[in-house]
Subunit: 464 residues, 2 copies
């Protein structure tokens, strides 16, 4: 695969002409001032350069662009809202950037099916508003909602706080249209809930990080919109007890929407940051939510009752402002951590049976490495997903060592080194910790099958 590392070479300028021939001059950006925003991620951690940002306006244009790059052996990075956490949508090795943002057509909601067809460039916020207006909701929500796109969410199999109830992005996708590495277009968008006519290409694209194909359109499941929501903040004495509480709530509260967790250190930090004392305080605090067509307060109370001594006296809220006040102690953690220093952030999943032991030891493991650190734990406990944020790494200490120490503890407990964020370029060199040589060989074979020229995001996930 050829590398294009600078514009203005004969190679690249011929390329630009060809790209212009496909999408028109307006939609090929080459001026570094214009391409700069596409060449760096929002955190500033991942930075690259690109000979051209190409913005196709249709699946045919995407296919033509991919075909011409495949013919020339020039790699590309597909980019949606560029809100990723692992450098997966940035041209770190001088790739062409294929922006999907113009593919932003949102079709009317199909109320009979409870589905909608959305272009890859549709922003999550807009999808939510569109669904709500038709009496539905969309099952995935996350912090980057004002920028992240449907295509990027599919490519990264985005999760968020409602995975417990609705699953991750993969569980929302009923069909896709995508361009594979040879420029061929696969399309299966009828939205059939039962359809055993071959392999699940739609599911396979979810979480493939732009390496198997470029999703251009998706058929998405919508969920009923619930008008009644109850939120409770529940004090729990230990992480082991919190896991028992989560399991009991899952088993007893059918309308359970979320079981989120804030560890004691993170709770104190966010309370300081907000300047508000939390209504409950404990080793672990859970933010629990149920949503239903009727008031689910009784249902949630019964579930907490079933937890017996394990769950302390909760703070409960049903009206919007009071609920948001409780959520601030969970959702504000990221902001509080960012304000406290330059955080090093990890996002891992542990098996339910091993999570408490991991949580009880991960801070010590990091501390042993660097005694100046503080480790904050929070996350989506209902899914076993823990965010590990480390603050105060001493100068000269390598963040990679922190990664390695945490990941080794994760792997020793049979957990995943990437819960929601994916592998990207950031965790590529750690993937072997989670995946055996046989799995990595299968991944590589899959890549070759879908992208024989090796041009789709070649530096991400499993290197081609």
């Amino acid at each position: 695969v050829a590398r294009v590392t600078a514009t203005g070479t004969g190679h690249a300028s011929g390329l630009v002409d060809e790209l212009v021939g496909v999408v028109g001059e307006r939609h090929v950006l080459v001026d570094p001032d214009m391409t700069a925003g596409y060449a760096v991620d929002w955190t500033g951690r991942f930075r690259g350069s690109t000979p051209a940002v190409v913005r196709p306006g249709s699946v045919e244009e995407v296919a033509d662009v991919v075909r011409l790059l495949a013919r020339r052996g020039i790699p590309l990075v597909a980019q949606g809202g560029n809100t990723g956490m692992v450098g997966g949508s940035v041209p770190t090795a001088g790739e062409v950037v294929l922006s999907t943002r113009r593919l932003d057509r949102l079709e009317p909601v199909d109320a009979l099916a409870g589905q909608v067809t959305a272009g890859a460039g549709v922003v999550l916020d807009r999808l939510h508003e569109h669904a709500e207006a038709a009496g539905f909701t969309f099952g995935v929500d996350l912090g980057a909602r004002s920028s992240c796109t449907v295509g990027g969410m599919i490519a990264t199999n985005a999760g968020g706080i409602h995975v417990l109830r609705y699953g991750s992005m993969r569980a929302q996708v009923v069909g896709i249209e995508a361009v594979l590495g040879d420029g061929s277009v696969v399309e299966h968008l009828a939205g059939l809930e039962k359809d055993n006519t071959g392999y699940d290409l739609a599911g396979l694209m979810c979480g493939s990080e732009g390496t198997l194909g470029i999703v251009t359109k998706a058929r998405l499941r919508l969920r009923p919109r619930f008008d009644h929501v109850v939120t409770a903040m529940v004090p729990v004495g230990s992480m082991a007890a919190a896991m028992e509480v989560a399991a009991t709530l899952r088993a007893t509260v059918a309308n359970l929407n979320a079981v989120e967790m804030v560890g004691r250190a993170a709770l104190d930090l966010v309370a300081d940051h907000l300047g508000v004392a939390p209504p409950v305080r404990a080793e672990v605090v859970l933010v629990v939510e149920a949503a239903a067509h009727h008031d689910p307060s009784e249902e949630l109370a019964a579930g907490l009752e079933a937890c017996g001594e394990l769950a302390g006296e909760p703070a409960v809220a049903v009206d919007g402002a009071a609920r948001r006040a409780l959520w601030r102690f969970r959702e504000g953690v990221t902001e509080a951590v960012n304000a406290a220093g330059i955080p090093h952030k990890l996002d891992v999943t542990l098996p339910a049976a091993a999570l408490a032991e991991f949580a009880d030891h991960v801070g010590d493991a990091v501390h042993r490495l660097d005694p100046s650190t503080t480790t904050y734990l929070f996350g989506h406990l209902g899914d076993g997903n823990v965010h590990v944020n480390v603050i105060g790494l001493a100068p000269g200490h390598d963040a990679d060592d922190v990664d390695r120490a945490v990941f080794e503890l994760v792997v020793a407990h049979h957990g995943s080194i990437s819960a929601e964020h994916g592998i990207g370029t950031a965790k590529r060199d750690f993937l072997h910790l989670n995946r055996s040589p046989a799995e990595l060989a299968a991944f590589a074979a899959l890549r070759r099958a879908f992208d024989p020229a090796g041009i789709l995001n070649p530096n991400v996930l499993v290197p081609t």
Copy 2:
């Protein structure tokens, strides 16, 4: 790929010795009396022969068998309970049969995670009992429950009546262990709900019909066990109205478990067969069920109320015997159709917006082809899944013509020619109706990636 069509040849007997070397003499069957039951499906429609049935007892033995067959280029068919509908697990071209039934280890339920690890040979009935004993249920249930195996259900992405609530088999699988076509073993069984560390091999295996790998073990999601169930039989004036009722119930009844459908002809037939008058009668009758921790009768009644004029006065049952009496009119249809003649059975899905028009015309389309036929419609309306059963095909008329007529109508309405049953050998020649050349090429590339020697069930799905 070599074909082994008879036992006793030098080629085959050398093979048998090698297989015996892997699994032991007791577990290689060559006597046609012993292999006959593995060489024909339960309906008797698909029949073949095999030089050997091999019954490995561990994943290592499965891998050794696959490796030795790959080396010799001898094809195999993986077989679980052999309850498939499309000839996908029968050695129709003289393949070796690899039976997964001895891989029947069922681990203790992990109550904290709400999951269980099961061998591919575990029978569905046993899985259900095991889950119930631990306070859970398993999300997929179907008629073949006393014979079908976890491995076969994964390979065919089995559905059934609760797909509406829990999804098909793919939605239950959190992890798999499988042997690929080169004998390599991929294993990812920790049961992590959020795990974005590469491609979704587990989901890809679901519905792959034994062509990408042989599933040997799976990590499965369990669901809360509900003690309160309400069933209603609802008369509706037309299929179009039935689709509106289904959509309204999905939107308003959070604890909805099933929306099943019986057309008028099928209802009359089953009532005759049972010798019992149905409590309601209409152009379309829906069997609707909700299940919850509390009595969901009010919730279901409110949902039906929200349907307004579209839903007629329902017959409602909450106790077990009365509920079963209602279900007999839905579950008895297959038996009633079988008793009425030799049925030709099709299993299709239509988009919600097109289902009513399809249902209103499919009987006529078949009738035009053969005026002696009667067409019965029933199925899982909540998923858009219609079973089309045709009785009374005149002698000399080819069932393939019926298939073609129905499938063409399905495809004209953007539906799927196989909802639950898969493609197997039965629908292989029709797959191009549903899948474009680009999709079929992607399927073929996937097969080559996972099974370079082309030995895994080569006559099924997309021929190698």
